[in-house]
Amino acid sequence: MTYEPGKYPKEYNPKVHGPYHPGRYYGKPDVPFGDVKIGDLGGWISRRKFTPTAVWGAIHRTFWNWSGRWMNARSPGFAPIGHIIMLSSAYYFLVMYKDRSYHRHCKYH
């Protein structure tokens, strides 16, 4: 991936792309996930990079994209707050998964 901490992506060229937007992907775009056929899914996933910098870059972009579209709208409404609540719920679900699994009632599945 092209992301390096504290630096612009290597593909970013201000003369072409204009002012830098942290939520935008400046590399060569692949087929969107929604348009991928089931058969091509393996190839599509193999083209993704899972290095720490790439993952961090994706999280970074996703956050700024979400922030720009939802949180920083002029009148955002309740939806972004609901997203944060749902995300923290999911986070605590994962964190407390082990503790809560002691409360299971069934033994055979």
Binding site: K10, G18, R24, R74, G77
Partner: protein, 284 residues
């Protein structure tokens, strides 16, 4: 960042422009360098330098290579994107629609929840009830007070916009209108001044004319007075001379007439009268 630095994009930041000014020119604290630090004032720019920098940045960001179609300038949206059921983005439903139809996403979410409950991935313990009770409370608040809360926030937004933008710009527009009206009034007044000058000039010319005529009259009267005096003096002199001459001649003649002459003349007069009366009688 290095290529950007090399290409000079961040020149403005490094020179202390914008948000990074505080970092770029922050005075070094006395403690960190042993108390010998000096205050470095922020760099000031002339208007020409600023214009040059503006042009430079414009040439970088909006040059001929700029791809505005695929990479438009980011802008702040008015509203968050459309949602369903309060918080779920509508785009997720659109993602499911061509693959599974309308019920797909609901089936997916319901099926996932059922599977998690069935396999006890999600255990129904005392923590579990926090989730539905919280969202139930959210639903209740939205149902009861949603419109009020929405109105409050939209009013606040409107008020903020009024305070930050609308009122100051209206005040500035009002001030500008006032200035324009004053200037127009001034222009009108200067136009009036032209006519006023002409009128005053005419008045002064009239006064000058009157004064001129007055002086002419005075001069005429004075000259006439002197001429009259001279004439009267001449007349008096001539009359006196004449009288004197007449008196002198009469007295001389009177002196020269003797008694004999007087008697003769009376005799001739009587004679003439007699002739005349004879003639008169003959005629009658």
């Amino acid at each position: 960042m290095l290529p950007a630095l090399k290409s000079g994009v961040l020149r403005s930041i490094l020179h202390g422009q914008g948000a990074f000014r505080a970092i770029a020119v922050a005075p070094i604290r006395a403690g960190s360098t042993g108390g010998s630090a000096e205050y470095i004032p922020p760099k000031t720019y002339t208007k020409e330098e600023r214009i040059e920098q503006w042009d430079y940045v414009n040439s970088v960001y909006f040059g001929p290579e700029r791809d505005l179609k695929n990479f438009p300038n980011p802008s702040q949206p008015d509203q968050a994107p459309p949602v369903r059921m309060g918080i779920v983005p509508a785009s997720w439903f659109e993602f499911f629609y061509p693959k599974t139809g309308v019920t797909g996403p609901y089936l997916f979410a319901g099926g996932l929840s059922l599977w998690m409950l069935s396999k006890e991935v999600m255990v129904i313990d005392h923590y579990f009830w926090e989730f539905p009770s919280f969202w139930g409370a959210v639903w209740f608040v939205n149902y009861k007070f949603g419109s009020q809360i929405k109105k409050y926030f939209s009013d606040q937004l409107q008020l903020k916009q009024d305070i930050i933008f609308t009122r100051p710009i209206n005040a500035m527009k009002g001030a500008a209108q006032e200035t324009i009206a004053k200037c127009e009034r001034l222009i009108e007044e200067t136009e009036v001044a032209k006519h006023l000058y002409l009128a005053k000039k005419e008045g002064v010319e009239l006064q000058l004319e009157a004064a001129y005529r007055q002086r002419l009259l005075t001069a005429f009267q004075e000259v006439k007075k002197r001429l009259d005096y001279a004439l009267e003096k001449e007349n008096v002199k001539r009359r006196y001379e004449q009288e004197h001459m007449v008196n002198w001649i009469v007295s001389s003649v009177t002196k020269s007439i003797t008694a004999q002459q007087e008697k003769e003349s009376i005799q001739s007069c009587i004679k003439t009268l007699k002739n005349l009366s004879a003639k008169q009688a003959a005629v009658l």
